[in-house]
Symmetry: D2
Subunit: 137 residues, 4 copies
DNA sequence: TTTT
DNA sequence: TTTT
């Protein structure tokens, strides 16, 4: 069934990556997406949306992006639940990122935010695709 | 910032509508969206995605749709939090439905699922738009 | 870069499939998507959107869908151009369908429109994924 | 019916704005969206997607964006046709932009590309929404 | 008839 | 428990 999410927002924290027991790279991150309208107090609020990304895209995200970096996410919504520390079931709604676009980087490696899906580990300027449509589940 | 969600799935329960203290109609509902792939046990799982819709669209949803009805949702992701019954903060991620398409109805009023944003309270066959881009917040 | 299209509409013709010289299945089709609003004459118009789909999804589409069938499309916009019969360059904008959902079928095979990405060649009721993320270009 | 397009790409030309006979501002523009994969020659190609935007959003686009500027577009696909100069009917598929996000500007006014829907004609830093959900058709 |  |  159709399930599609597209977001542009800023990383609330510098992303960290970990590996599953099977050695698969994964990164959980949150992006702040400012709302297009102001609230009663004339302030623009944001939505803080939890995302997860796997494999090479997870590695690139952790390597090149920072707190505050602007990224685009194309993916799907997924829900899961697990037993919380208090024994109660916790329900999670998050975005499974299938493709991430680096729209701007902050400091780290001095990369320049080319508006392309780029992992600028070398200086060719030739962007590298970080899409990952071969997810491990 | 860009924030777009498109879903097609089935209502997990017959939707109910309520009114805010200001008299604005609102309906919270969940749709089950089947995943396009099977898990390790060869089963297809679903994501259960919480949604909210306001005003006329909320009224139409409650009036014409039922548990199991297939609908399309076009909207945006929003997050909010409130104090839970145990005093702890509860965080919610849900889809704010800006437009709902009735793809199929179950029984209730014998409506026929025309694949249009329809509220068939009369028999003209002329569909009625239930989009709502003038939300109360 | 982000490029995402999601559509729900009806096939304007029974889809036909062909094979490229390399033996890859491909189907071009058009879906009519009704607009959510009426024009000055109080009529609801439609947009007629050209799409292309490859491989197994193309085969399933041709085998199970008919003129008038309601489908969902998840894909991306692409442009191409070729030399027209009058020697002038023709520019085409179309949707490359990466995933198609059968929302309803018309007659052909008497299939029932389960609201799932289904290719009901057998009667198990177990839907088959027709997504195709390994496109030949 | 569902009809949603989300794009991020670069303006192929500095956008120009005009007014309809009724005095409504409108701007037609093309964005180049790089494909996520390379072709046989190892080159990354782009899709050149025609868009149209109305009213205040059209004015802001023409005022603040330039050739090469990176923008995000949230809108819908529409088709129309008209009689060409040779008397033949010309069919057009384009994106009706309902909301545009300025992701980066080039020179003109020295604006800084804040990643928000911003029309920085004053220096408050408070972004201005350029969404336009009240289109004249 | 195109962007970086 | 948050970004600019």
């Amino acid at each position: 069934m159709l399930n599609r999410v597209v977001l542009v927002g800023r990383l609330t924290k510098t992303p960290e990556m970990r590996y599953t027991p099977n050695g698969v790279a994964v990164s959980n991150f949150t992006i702040a997406v400012n709302r297009p309208f102001s609230n009663n107090q004339g302030e623009r609020e944001a939505d803080f949306i939890n995302c997860v990304v796997w494999r090479k895209a997870a590695e690139n995200l952790a390597q090149y992006m920072n707190k505050g970096s602007l990224i685009g996410v194309d993916g799907r919504l997924q829900t899961r639940n697990f037993e919380g520390q208090d024994g109660k079931r916790v329900f999670v709604t998050e975005v499974l990122a299938e493709s991430i676009q680096f729209l701007e980087s902050k400091s780290k490696n001095n990369s320049s935010g080319s508006g392309q899906e780029t992992a600028p580990q070398e200086n060719t300027g030739e962007p590298i695709d970080i899409s990952d449509d071969d997810l491990p589940f």
